[in-house]
C-alpha cells in the first residue's frame, strides 16, 4: 500500500482545508514538495479545489507553478480539467497521473479517451468527494457546485475508464483518524483500485492496509507534524 499526501493548490499557493470550509495557507508548492520528498512520501496528489466559477486563465496560472516544480516524487494532478483545451495545457508537466471528477460524473468519454491517449489508461484517476446525509451518500459535482446522489453516478463507466478511484471524505478533511469507513460500504469499486483521502490518520492506515486499499492520501497538515510519514509507515508495518 502506498502512503502519500494530498496537496491543495489554490491561487498558485498551497492551502490546508478543513471540512471544505476553513482554509489555512501553507505557502509555495516547491517548499511543500521539498518537505514531503524528505519524508520519502510515496506520492502526492495535487488537487485544485475549484467549483463552477473556475476559468481557463486561473487554470493556466496554477499550471504554471506546477510546471516549474522540481520533484522526483510521483504526482497526480487534477481539479478543473474539464475540456480538451485544459488537457492540452497539461502536456510536459512533471506529473504522471491525471485526476478527473466532473468529467466522470458527466461521462465525458471524449475527454477521458483523449487523456488516455496522451497519458495512458494507467494514468487516469477518478476523484469522488463524498458525504453521507440522512443515511444517503452524495457526491460533490464540482463543475455544477452541488451534491448529487451517489446512486445517479455511473459506476460501470468509472470502472471502465479509471485506473483508480480516489474517495475523498469531505466532512472529515483536515482531521485525524476520522476517515468515515462507512462511505465505502456497498461501493462497487475494487479495493485494490481504491485510494482514500480526508481525515486519514494512523488508525485509518492500519484499517486501509487490512482491507487491501491501494493508497492512502494524508492531508497536507502532516507538514506541521514532521514525524508523521515515517510514523505512518511504521503503523503499516505493525498492522
Amino acid at each position: 500500500m502506498r502512503i502519500g499526501s494530498t496537496v491543495l493548490l489554490s491561487d498558485q499557493n498551497c492551502i490546508q482545508s478543513y471540512e471544505w470550509k476553513l482554509k489555512r495557507p501553507l505557502g509555495r508548492i516547491q517548499g511543500v514538495f521539498d518537505s514531503l520528498e524528505e519524508y520519502h512520501c510515496d506520492e502526492v496528489a495535487i488537487i485544485r479545489p475549484v467549483r463552477d466559477n473556475d476559468s481557463v486563465e486561473d487554470f493556466r496560472k496554477d499550471i504554471q507553478v506546477v510546471k516549474e516544480l522540481s520533484s522526483m516524487t510521483p504526482i497526480s494532478f487534477g481539479g478543473g480539467v474539464r475540456t480538451l483545451e485544459h488537457l492540452k495545457l497539461l502536456q510536459d508537466l512533471p506529473i504522471e497521473r491525471l485526476i478527473f471528477s466532473s468529467a466522470f460524473l458527466e461521462k465525458d468519454e471524449k475527454l477521458i479517451l483523449a487523456a488516455k491517449n496522451l497519458f495512458g489508461h494507467q494514468a487516469i484517476q477518478c476523484l469522488l468527494p463524498i458525504i453521507t446525509k440522512d443515511g444517503e451518500t452524495w457526491v460533490f459535482h464540482s463543475s455544477k457546485n452541488k451534491y448529487i446522489p451517489f446512486d445517479s453516478v455511473d459506476i460501470d463507466f468509472i470502472n471502465e475508464f479509471a485506473n483508480e478511484v480516489i474517495l475523498f471524505d469531505v466532512i472529515h478533511e483536515g482531521m485525524t483518524n476520522r476517515f468515515d469507513w462507512s462511505l465505502l460500504e456497498g461501493m462497487a469499486f475494487d479495493s485494490k483500485k481504491t485510494v482514500i483521502s480526508g481525515g486519514v490518520g494512523r488508525k485509518d492506515i492500519q484499517i486501509a492496509k487490512a482491507n487491501g486499499i491501494a493508497s492512502v492520501l494524508v492531508d497536507n497538515k502532516i507538514l506541521h507534524q514532521e514525524y508523521s510519514i515515517s510514523g505512518y509507515k511504521h503503523a503499516t508495518k505493525l498492522s
Binding site: T73, D92, P94, N117, L118, G120, A214
Partner: protein, 206 residues
C-alpha cells in the same frame, strides 16, 4: 557526455530533464528526428502504445532511432519507451513496435494494474557483459539497493539471450523491470520519480 531526450509531443520530458540535471548530467530536448546527435538517446514513454507508435512513425523518429543505434549510440527507454522497443504490444488491439528487442508486451492481467513501489537490487558487475554499463564512472558505487516507482498495466516479456535483466517484482516475475542488452537499456519503472534510487541508478549505469 551528450544526452538527447526525444520529445515526440507526449510524455513527461520535464521530469526526465529534472532527473538528469539532479544527477549533474546536461541534456538537450530534441523535437526533430534529424537533430538527434548524442551518445545517449532517451525515449520517455507516456501514453498508449498505438498513439505513441503513430507519432514515432509520422515524425520519422523510428528511422532516426535505428540510425542512432547503427552509429554506435546508446538508447534508454522508459516505461512505454521501453515497451515499444519490443516487436509488438497487445495494447490498443495490437501494435507493431520497433523490434529492437526480441520480446513482446502483454497485459499484466485482465483488469490488473501495477501502481506502487518495489525494491530494486543489482550489482553493476552483473552488467559487465553488456556494452552499456557504467561507461562514465559517475560514481564508485557498485551495488544498488533501493526502491523504484511503477505505474503500468502492460509488461515486457523478454526473449533475448545474454541480456541482463531484473524482474518487476515477486508478484510479476515474468516481466522485466530493468533490461540491458548491448547498447540498449529498458526501464519499466519511472526512475525520474524514484527519488534517491533514481539518482543512484543513472549514476551507476552511465
Amino acid at each position: 557526455m551528450k544526452v538527447d531526450i526525444l520529445d515526440i509531443g507526449s510524455g513527461n520530458i520535464s521530469s526526465i530533464k529534472n532527473w538528469l540535471q539532479k544527477a549533474n548530467i546536461s541534456t538537450r530536448v530534441v523535437k526533430n528526428a534529424q537533430h538527434i546527435e548524442s551518445e545517449l538517446l532517451i525515449l520517455p514513454g507516456v501514453g498508449s502504445a498505438g498513439s505513441y507508435m503513430d507519432r514515432l512513425i509520422d515524425g520519422n523518429y523510428d528511422v532516426a532511432i535505428r540510425e542512432h543505434l547503427n552509429k554506435g549510440g546508446r538508447l534508454l527507454g522508459i516505461c512505454l519507451g521501453f515497451q515499444i522497443m519490443t516487436k509488438y504490444s497487445e495494447e490498443d488491439g495490437g501494435v507493431n513496435c520497433l523490434g529492437l528487442i526480441d520480446g513482446h508486451v502483454e497485459r499484466i492481467g485482465s483488469g490488473k494494474s501495477h501502481n506502487g513501489w518495489e525494491p530494486l537490487q543489482f550489482r553493476t558487475d552483473d552488467m559487465n557483459e553488456q556494452l552499456f554499463h557504467n561507461q562514465y564512472k559517475l560514481t564508485k558505487k557498485r551495488v544498488l539497493n533501493g526502491r523504484v516507482f511503477y505505474n503500468h498495466e502492460y509488461g515486457v516479456i523478454n526473449k533475448e539471450d545474454k541480456s541482463f535483466s531484473t524482474p518487476v517484482s515477486t508478484d510479476f516475475p515474468q516481466y522485466d523491470g530493468l533490461f540491458v542488452k548491448d547498447k540498449i537499456i529498458g526501464i519499466q519503472f519511472h526512475p525520474e520519480k524514484s527519488q534517491i534510487t533514481g539518482l543512484d541508478l543513472i549514476s551507476m549505469i552511465l
